[in-house]
């Protein structure tokens, strides 16, 4: 399978901070690839390096066969970018913004109007086409941001935390849209710190922590490799939870506090010492916490 994005030994420092630290990453053409990590893991820096808006200190990066940063402009012709932070022109209407970007992405003059109409349709914003951005709701603005990145029918789309801060219904809509992109053959690289988002959408998930990839695979592979088949959740008062935590530690079981319970991984292989509790299938969140030691949403 052809490679859409490849990073080898990439590092980026900002002063004292190693934002990206020896990153190796390969994204195959046609997949939806999820870059999962807590805030500060280096996901956004990685995304910016793929458009050459941040330059790597070390390592090599290629996107769609073009070597960065030298041939970055060429690769940007064929990819769409949806940033985490809203950077829409608040003074312009939806149609004006999409028209400007159709030009920037070199959509031929004769196709521009149709491209704008199609993008408005993708964003479900036809009724608001001539409304200025300032007057749109947060969900509409995010959809416009996505449509702007798709105006030129890119082969590759970068989505940086596409649904952060959105309400559940808008998030569902965007998920449908992203899934549709993948189904139409577009390669998608999405960074997220929502486990559910990665689990639902990504064919391959790479877990990023402290500027590098610490595990990679399909969501199911990651779960079975790092959390096993089952998780045992033991509920009780704080003293009981502390006791269970110590028991797990002394037996060498991998465990974590999970809200009002202690969760013990790989419950399927626990012997008779196992405390009483509720067994449930392991999920990506369990694997993620086992890998990074960090709790996220």
């Amino acid at each position: 399978m052809a490679v859409a994005i490849s990073l080898q030994g990439v590092s980026k420092r900002f002063g004292e901070i190693n934002a990206v630290n020896g990153l190796d990453l390969e994204v195959s053409t046609g997949v939806c690839f999820g870059l999962l990590g807590p805030n500060g893991a280096g996901k956004s820096t990685t995304m910016r390096m793929l458009t050459a808006q941040t330059l790597a200190d070390e390592g090599s990066i290629s996107v769609l066969g073009f070597q960065l940063p030298r041939e970055s402009k060429q690769s940007r012709l064929e990819m769409g970018v949806v940033p985490q932070l809203d950077n829409l022109d608040t003074e312009l209407t939806c149609r004006q913004i999409l028209t400007v970007f159709a030009r920037l992405y070199r959509v031929p003059r004769t196709e521009r109007t149709a491209a704008v109409e199609r993008a408005l349709e993708i964003a479900n914003l036809q009724p608001r086409a001539d409304t200025i951005v300032k007057e749109l709701s947060g969900g509409m603005r995010r959809r416009l941001l996505v449509a702007r990145g798709l105006i030129h029918r890119p082969r590759l789309v970068l989505l940086d935390e596409p649904t952060v801060g959105l309400d559940p219904q808008v998030r569902q809509e965007l998920w449908t849209l992203i899934d549709g992109l993948r189904a139409s053959g577009v390669t998608v690289l999405m960074s997220t710190h929502y486990i559910e988002e990665a689990e639902r959408l990504a064919d391959t998930v790479a877990v990023m922590s402290s500027g590098r990839i610490i595990a990679q695979g399909t969501p199911a592979e990651l779960v079975s490799a790092h959390a096993g088949e089952q998780v045992l959740e033991v509920y009780g008062p704080p003293e009981r939870l502390a006791e269970v935590g110590e028991l797990a530690a002394s037996n060498g079981w991998s465990s974590r506090r999970s809200g009002p319970a202690v969760a013990i991984m790989r419950a399927e292989s626990l012997d008779s010492l196992a405390p009483e509790g509720i067994r449930r299938p392991a999920n990506l969140e369990d694997a993620f916490v086992a890998l990074t030691g960090e709790e996220i949403e």
Partner: protein
């Protein structure tokens, strides 16, 4: 939400981009960036036009009716002609340096428009060139407003006046790029006050706009020689009053050199901050 209803659209219908030539300062990229400026201008042209007419009118009324009754000529030039042509330079300065500073800072820092554009196939050189080009085109056109207003006050039309928009464009290009450079270096938008009061205000007074540089002390006169606005004023005045001579080639050369220098400086300074 109907991307999936149009399968295979992602790859068909366009030639593969890899065969297209991608070079420096592509006209398509410049046009794309400027199309955004045009769209924004469509919302503000009335206010811009209003102030560009009213401002020289006020200058001409104040200087013409007040000062002009006391002083009929400045140098060998009628006061109305002197002030009318001098105001062109101030109009060009303010309509280029201020947008250069404020628009750049706001679009870069607050609206992050530049981040969005640089994720598209546009590079820093194209982005800044297009922005400066747009501001200077506008400055060239609006620089003509004081001349038109001065007609109403008795300024005589002259063929050389057709050169005024071109002079305004070149001067505006330099000052717009100067503004972009200031925006790139400024830590906050308040720092623009230093530039406005310590650089721009003296610059527009020590340029022969409202009184001749020759009336100033020797030291200040030397400063005027390196003030691009002084050369703009001289050129505009000579073109408008039909007194163009060889000295004007020197004035034009200074303005072109200033524009070129500031253009490259703006790209290198803002480029360092847009790409980290």
């Amino acid at each position: 939400m109907s991307w999936s209803s149009q399968p295979e659209t992602a790859v068909v219908g366009r030639p593969p981009a890899s065969v297209r030539r991608v070079g420096r300062l592509e006209p398509a990229a410049l046009a794309g960036v400027m199309s955004r400026d045009v769209a924004i201008f469509g919302r503000y042209w009335k206010a811009t036009t209003f102030s560009s007419i009213v401002q020289p009118t006020i200058y001409l009324l104040a200087f013409g009716l007040g000062f002009g009754t006391l002083v009929k000529t400045i140098g060998h030039v009628k006061t109305i002609e002197y002030i009318g042509t001098g105001t062109v330079a101030t109009a060009v300065l303010f309509s280029s340096a201020f947008p250069g500073m404020f628009n750049t800072f706001i679009r870069w820092q607050f609206q992050r428009t530049y981040d969005a554009m640089l994720a598209a196939p546009v590079d820093v050189e194209e982005l800044i060139t297009a922005e400066v080009l747009w501001i200077s085109l506008r400055a060239g056109v609006y620089g003509m407003a004081p001349i038109l207003v001065a007609f109403a006050f008795g300024l005589q039309p002259e063929w050389g006046m057709l050169l005024v928009p071109l002079i305004g464009f070149v001067t505006g290009f330099g000052f717009a790029a100067f503004g972009v450079t200031v925006a790139a270096i400024a830590k906050t938008i308040d720092n623009f006050n230093y530039i406005t009061s310590a650089v721009l205000t003296p610059m527009f007074l020590v340029a022969g706009t409202f009184f001749p540089v020759s009336s100033l002390p020797e030291g200040v006169r030397q400063v005027a020689q390196v003030n691009p606005l002084y050369h703009c004023v001289q050129l505009v005045r000579d073109a408008s009053l039909g007194t163009l001579g060889t000295a004007d080639l020197g004035h034009a050369a200074v303005l072109l050199a200033f524009a070129l220098l500031m253009w490259r400086l703006a790209i290198s300074q803002l480029g360092k901050r847009l790409i980290d």
